[in-house]
Symmetry: C2
């Protein structure tokens, strides 16, 4: 509970000016090696830690990055995706000693308002935009604001900010070809929120590939990613006259729910029904049989997004005109497990 030590204290102890202390601490020219060493020694001894607010006020930077999540508490809680993403982001940020500010919002309007406030307050130096939509109002909004931002997802056309994304089309083709090779001809997909960019990309890839392979049927039903909807849609699909022999789920939570419905209906997975889940997570290995899934390193993805944001914020930041680059990550890999097998005769 002792008083904080400031650069003034150090300056007094070292018999130099506050300016000299600042230069020494920040490794800038302006002090001799001897003075620097002496100042550094005293600072360490006194347990000096610079006050963030003072620093931020001087350099007008917040030393923090913001992330606003627009998902219900329930979805956020159960989807491993977000925590994994955040933990990756956080790792990169704390390596650069930047803080992470988190806010949960209900609507886009609220989200935009949060960005406006954060930037006006200079509470953050930049933000990460999650769940990028096909025509996403946030993209122009933050660009107009001048708030450095990175789209976590893409590619986004005509955007004025960088996007970091995985190729979602290729894995879609891979799944369908794999299922085709196993003899499946009636495939259904329980897709995510239709307005999301990657949902649209997957939709297109499935339709195309299904046509190319000549599948008997390729049904797509959109959902909100929750277990409830996953279960309900699965139940409907499996109760239909010409039920699919394989179902692809756009997230792990729905796939687990779908597996539960199969059990409920007495269908054997994989003999009577094959299941594939997007976004391999520990969840997919919890079930019996374990779920065949598409593996991506979400945490590394988060780290990568944070790195791009850091270059945007840093001293050597690209000019606003040069910010619209796009970084592509390694696409998801198919990890076959017990939930997929040859199509029933």
């Amino acid at each position: 509970m002792t008083r904080r030590v400031t650069i003034a204290d150090i300056a007094a102890a070292a018999g130099v000016s506050k300016g000299a202390v600042s230069y020494a601490l920040n490794g800038r020219p302006g002090v001799s090696e001897n003075t620097r060493r002496k100042i550094l020694g005293i600072a360490a001894e006194m347990g000096f830690v610079p006050n963030r607010a003072a620093r931020s006020l001087s350099v007008s930077s917040a030393q923090a990055v913001g992330i606003a999540l627009r998902r219900s508490a329930r979805t956020l809680g159960i989807e491993p995706y977000f925590m994994e993403l955040i933990s990756g982001i956080e790792a990169t940020l704390s390596a650069g000693s930047l803080g992470l500010t988190l806010q949960i919002v209900d609507t886009v309007e609220e989200e935009l308002e949060v960005y406006r406030r954060w930037w006006a307050e200079r509470r953050v130096d930049g933000v990460l935009l999650c769940d990028v939509g096909a025509s996403d109002p946030r993209l122009d909004f933050v660009a107009d604001l001048g708030l450095p931002a990175v789209a976590v997802g893409g590619p986004v056309e005509g955007a004025r900010l960088p996007a970091v994304w995985h190729d979602d089309a290729e894995p879609c083709r891979e799944i369908l070809e794999y299922l085709y090779a196993l003899g499946h001809r009636r495939v259904a997909r329980i897709a995510g929120l239709p307005h999301l960019l990657h949902t649209a990309i997957r939709d297109a890839a499935h339709t195309e590939t299904a046509a190319a392979l000549g599948l008997e049927s390729m049904t797509t039903v959109h959902s909100d990613y929750t277990g409830e909807q996953g279960a309900r849609i699965t139940r409907r699909l499996l109760s239909s006259a010409n039920r699919p022999t394989a179902i692809i789920y756009d997230n792990d939570v729905m796939a687990v729910a779908g597996l539960g419905v199969a059990h409920e209906l007495g269908l054997h997975v994989s003999e009577q029904l094959s299941i594939v889940a997007w976004d391999d997570s520990p969840l997919c290995r919890l079930t019996h049989p374990a779920l065949t899934s598409l593996t991506r390193d979400i945490s590394a993805y988060g780290s990568h997004c944070a790195e791009v944001l850091l270059t945007l914020i840093g001293a050597d930041a690209p000019s606003p005109e040069k910010r619209a680059f796009s970084v592509q990550c390694r696409p998801a890999q198919l990890s076959p497990r017990g939930s997929t097998g040859p199509a029933p005769a």
Copy 2:
């Protein structure tokens, strides 16, 4: 990208001093009603938002609360608990327009270091301590530091800070009595990390109740909360000569994994094995059968913890001597679902 508007701009526009603007904006006496209205009008019109750093520097408060999570990215991702807790915390904080700063750490030492730094930097006004242990070094550490903190869990004996907790003993008794009534006499429990406070409390409650009821056996095996360990321990328990007819899991993730193992071994849940999960989450309703579980409102719990922290930080904060109060929340309620049934004959 236009220049930020500051109180100086407003003062100039209104023809008053910066001090008057500050008084008006903060609803303090010192300006007439007319002047206040005028100033407020101009501020709104100019889209004024106060700079956080400047405010923090003046009042020496960070307007933010910190939370350091010491769990692996994998555990964090898959356990709905944390995101639900965080979303509750966040709701309370943003209502008070405080920010939430998040950091993920690997070790206790690192966690302590984060608290030291945060407080020295005045990056946070207080912290929430998760996963409280039986003799937790963080409790004294933050108290010594003078860093306002709330223990998320308890009760903690001899603590110098408030604890917010649920009674864990009562639900343990409730489960065992319920299972006993269903005829179960051999019960096993796959418990959480042994050093955690609530694990110890549950351990004691189970042992006592089992003795009181005269159960044939009450086995407890500790784990790390992961699905892997949950599955492995379940497999071992179910392969033993005198296998339990009911298993209680200390979290939802392990319970789901345990259900998978039962399927794998061809055991019918609930006819041959009953399963109970702590911490009801959407995960428990994803499976078939759905899991009987202990329901708590984790999000509300988080909100409550944040509220207590806010009183500690606020203007009317209790003196350090009066901070060691303890707030008890409503205990978990048993929600019977398909995973429990009469013990096999």
